[in-house]
C-alpha cells in the first residue's frame, strides 16, 4: 500500500502541471477582464495603465511560468523564510491578487478557518445523518421510514440552498430572532459566551448544507446497502445466529461502505472549495465566496491558485479514496 502511494505521487505531478496549464488557458481565454469592475467613469487610457501595472502586458506563457515559479518556489520558500527567519526569497514577488493586491496565500489562510468550521462541519453532520438513514431505508425497504426518508431527501436535494437558506433566515433570524443572519468571521471563541455565539451563528448555514449533503449521500448509501443485503454471506451470518443488528451493522454495512466511502472522500475536496451559495447567503465569506468573487473580478492569480490547490486536493483525495477502497476491501491489493 505504501509503495502504491509512493508510486502514485510522482505520477500525479505531470498531471497536475497539465491541469494547471489547462486552468490557466481557460482563464486566459474566457471572456471578462480584471478591470471589469472598475467603474465606467474611469477612462480607457487609465484602464490600460492599470492593466499594465498588473503585468497583463506580457505574453501568456511568461505569466504562466512566472506563476509556476511563484507557486512552487517562492511561496514555499517564503513560508520557510517566515518560519526560520532566513531570507532566501526576500523581495521576490509572491502571487498577488489583482483585486486586492494582497498575497493570495495570505487571503487563503484567512479564509480556511471559517470554511472548515462551517462547510467541513456541515459535511460531517451530513455524513452522520446520511449513513443511518441510508441503512434503515435499505433494511426496511418500502417501509414508512424509507418512504419518508426518500421523500425528505429528494425534496431536500431538489430545494436549492439559495432557497432553503433564505427560508431559514426569514423564520429563524427575522421572525423568531434566534440566530444571526450574518456570520461574524471575526468572532474568536474564548469562553462559553463566545462559544455559544459561534454555535448560534453556525446553526443555519450548517443545517442548510448538511441537509443537502445528507440527501445525496443517503441515496448512495441506501442503494449500496440494498445491493449487499442480497449477498450469500448475509445468509451465512444469519446462520451463525447473529442478531439482525450485527448482521446489518457489521457484515452488510462494512461491505456497503466501500462505494459510499469513495463518494464521501471525493466529496471532501468540495468542502475546501467551499459552498458558494450558502457562504453567500449567510455571508460566511469562506473559500467559496473568495473563489466566486475572484472569478467575477477576473482575478486570475487568485482563481488560478485556488483552483490549483483545489486540483491538488482532488488528486490527493482520489488517491485517498483508492487507498480506502483497498483498506475496506481486502480483495483489492495495490502491491
Amino acid at each position: 500500500m505504501l509503495t502504491y502511494t509512493l508510486r502514485r505521487i510522482p505520477m500525479a505531478i505531470p498531471s497536475l502541471l497539465f491541469i494547471s496549464l489547462v486552468i490557466f488557458l481557460l482563464l486566459e481565454l474566457s471572456p471578462g477582464d480584471p478591470l471589469g469592475s472598475v467603474p465606467l467613469t474611469v477612462p480607457p487610457e487609465v484602464k490600460e495603465k492599470m492593466r499594465e501595472a498588473l503585468g497583463l502586458g506580457q505574453a501568456w506563457y511568461i505569466r504562466y511560468f512566472l506563476w509556476l515559479k511563484q507557486f512552487f518556489w517562492i511561496e514555499p520558500m517564503h513560508w520557510f523564510d517566515a518560519t526560520f527567519g532566513t531570507a532566501i526569497v526576500e523581495g521576490q514577488q509572491r502571487i498577488i491578487s489583482f483585486q486586492s493586491r494582497v498575497p493570495v496565500f495570505d487571503v487563503i489562510a484567512q479564509r480556511i478557518p471559517q470554511t472548515l468550521t462551517v462547510v467541513g462541519f456541515s459535511y460531517l453532520v451530513g455524513v452522520l445523518i446520511a449513513i443511518p438513514i441510508g441503512i434503515i431505508s435499505a433494511y426496511k425497504q418500502y417501509s414508512w421510514f424509507d418512504q419518508l426518508g426518500t421523500f425528505l431527501s429528494m425534496v431536500g436535494f431538489s430545494m436549492p440552498t439559495f432557497f432553503t437558506g433564505v427560508v431559514l433566515i426569514i423564520i429563524f433570524a427575522v421572525n423568531l430572532q434566534w440566530f444571526p443572519s450574518v456570520y461574524d468571521t471575526t468572532l474568536r471563541v474564548t469562553d462559553w459566551a463566545s462559544f455559544w455565539k459561534q454555535v448560534r451563528q453556525m446553526v443555519m448555514p450548517v443545517t442548510v448544507l448538511a441537509l443537502y449533503n445528507a440527501a445525496q449521500i443517503s441515496r448512495f448509501m441506501r442503494a449500496s446497502m440494498l445491493d449487499n443485503l442480497r449477498q450469500d454471506y448475509v445468509r451465512t451470518a444469519r446462520a451463525k445466529g447473529l442478531s439482525e443488528k450485527t448482521v446489518v451493522l457489521k457484515h452488510v454495512l462494512r461491505n456497503s461502505l466501500i462505494p459510499v466511502v469513495t463518494v464521501i472522500a471525493l466529496g471532501l475536496p468540495a468542502v475546501f472549495g467551499g459552498a458558494i451559495i450558502t457562504e453567500q447567503v449567510f455571508r460566511v465569506n469562506g473559500l467559496g465566496q473568495l473563489l466566486i468573487s475572484a472569478i467575477q473580478a477576473n482575478d486570475i492569480p487568485m482563481v488560478l491558485t485556488l483552483t490549483f490547490i483545489f486540483a491538488i486536493l482532488i488528486v490527493v483525495f482520489t488517491l485517498i479514496a483508492d487507498l480506502l477502497y483497498g483498506i475496506l476491501d481486502p480483495r483489492i491489493r495495490y502491491d
Partner: protein, 322 residues
C-alpha cells in the same frame, strides 16, 4: 409416492425428454417474451413506482397539453394586473409584471423538464461511458482518471463563460435562439456534472471485471462491445440510477443558476428554477410564488426517483416481486 406425471419415467435418469418442470405446470413456455416486457411486468407490481409514473405523466400532460387548454401567453406583460391573486382570468394569480402564473408554470415546466432530462441523460451517459471505459480497459484507466480529475478541478464559471463566448452566436445562428440556447445549456450542465457518476461506475466495474462470468463470457467469444453492454452495464445499474435521479434535480436547479451568468435562456423565458429564484425575495408577501415552482420541482424529482427505484428493482432479477 412418485406422482403420475413422473411415473412414466422408470427412473429419473430415464425420464422422457423434456422432463416436466418440477413445480410449475407450464412446460415449454416460449422464451421469446422480451426482457422489457418482463421488466414492465415487474415494474407494474411496484406500487410506489406506478403512482410516481402516473404523477409524472400528469406533470408531463400539465406542461405539454396544458398550454393547449390554457392558451394564455406566458410572456405577456400586463403591468396593470401586477401581483394579482387568483381570479377567473388568472387562476393562480399573476406575478410582479402581471404575467399569468399558471401559463408560466406550464411553459417553465416544459423547459425545466426538458433541460433536466436531457442534461441528466448527457451526464449519466458520459459518466457511465467514461467510468466503464476506465474500469474495463486497463490502458485507459490512468488517462481517463486524470481526465476526471481535470474536470473536477476546472473552475466552472469561467468554463461556462468561455462556452457562451465561443458557441452562443454560432449556435443561435444555425439552430435558432431557443434551440441553440437549449443545446448550450444542456451540454454545459451535462459536460460539467458527469464526473461523480464516472468515478462510482469505474470503481464498480473494476470489481466486476474480476468476476468469473466475465471470463466465461470471453470464452464464448463475446466481443468487448457486447461485454460492456450486456454484462457490465446491467450490473452497475444501481449507482447509475441514483446518479441519474440526483442529476435531474441538480440540472433543473443549475439551469436557473446559469441564467445569472447570462448563459441561461433569455430573461423572458420562464423556467421553474427561475420562477423559484425570482420569487424568493418576496416570499413573505407572495408565498405561493415560491411554493408552486418549488413543489413542482420536488414532485418531478420525487417521481423520477421512484420511477428509477422501480426500474432498478424491475431490472434486478434478484429481487422477487413484493
Amino acid at each position: 409416492m412418485i406422482r403420475e406425471t413422473a411415473s412414466n419415467a422408470v427412473s429419473p435418469a430415464a425420464s422422457t425428454l423434456p422432463p416436466d418442470d418440477p413445480v410449475s405446470a407450464s412446460p415449454g413456455t416460449p422464451a421469446t417474451r422480451s426482457q422489457w416486457r418482463d421488466v414492465w411486468a415487474q415494474f407494474r407490481s411496484h406500487r410506489g413506482a406506478m403512482i410516481a409514473l402516473v404523477l409524472f405523466v400528469l406533470i408531463l400532460l400539465f406542461v405539454l397539453v396544458g398550454p393547449w387548454v390554457w392558451q394564455v401567453d406566458a410572456t405577456f406583460v400586463d403591468i396593470r394586473a401586477r401581483n394579482k391573486g387568483p381570479s377567473w382570468a388568472h387562476p393562480l394569480g399573476t406575478d410582479q409584471l402581471g404575467r399569468d402564473t399558471l401559463a408560466r408554470l406550464m411553459a417553465g415546466g416544459k423547459t425545466s423538464i426538458a433541460v433536466g432530462l436531457t442534461a441528466m441523460i448527457i451526464a449519466v451517459t458520459l459518466g457511465s461511458l467514461i467510468g466503464i471505459l476506465a474500469g474495463f480497459y486497463r490502458r485507459l484507466d490512468a488517462p481517463l482518471s486524470r481526465l476526471i480529475e481535470l474536470f473536477l478541478a476546472l473552475p466552472l464559471l469561467p468554463l461556462l463563460l468561455l462556452m457562451v463566448t465561443l458557441f452562443r452566436e454560432p449556435l443561435a445562428k444555425n439552430l435558432g435562439a431557443g434551440l441553440g440556447t437549449f443545446l448550450l445549456i444542456v451540454v454545459a450542465i451535462g459536460a460539467t456534472s458527469w464526473m461523480q457518476a464516472a468515478r462510482i461506475v469505474r470503481g464498480d466495474v473494476l470489481g466486476l471485471k474480476e468476476r468469473e462470468f466475465i471470463l466465461a463470457a470471453r470464452s464464448i467469444g463475446t466481443p468487448n462491445r457486447r461485454m460492456v453492454l450486456r454484462h457490465i452495464l446491467p450490473n452497475v445499474l444501481s449507482p447509475i440510477m441514483v446518479a441519474a435521479t440526483l442529476g435531474i434535480a441538480s440540472a433543473i436547479i443549475t439551469e436557473s443558476a446559469l441564467s445569472f451568468l447570462g448563459l441561461g435562456f433569455p430573461p423572458d423565458f420562464p423556467t421553474w428554477g427561475r420562477l423559484l429564484f425570482d420569487a424568493i425575495p418576496q416570499m413573505q408577501t407572495y408565498p405561493m410564488r415560491v411554493i408552486l415552482p418549488g413543489a413542482l420541482i420536488s414532485l418531478t424529482v420525487l417521481t423520477v426517483n421512484y420511477i428509477g427505484d422501480g426500474l432498478r428493482d424491475a431490472m434486478d432479477p434478484r429481487i422477487r416481486g413484493r
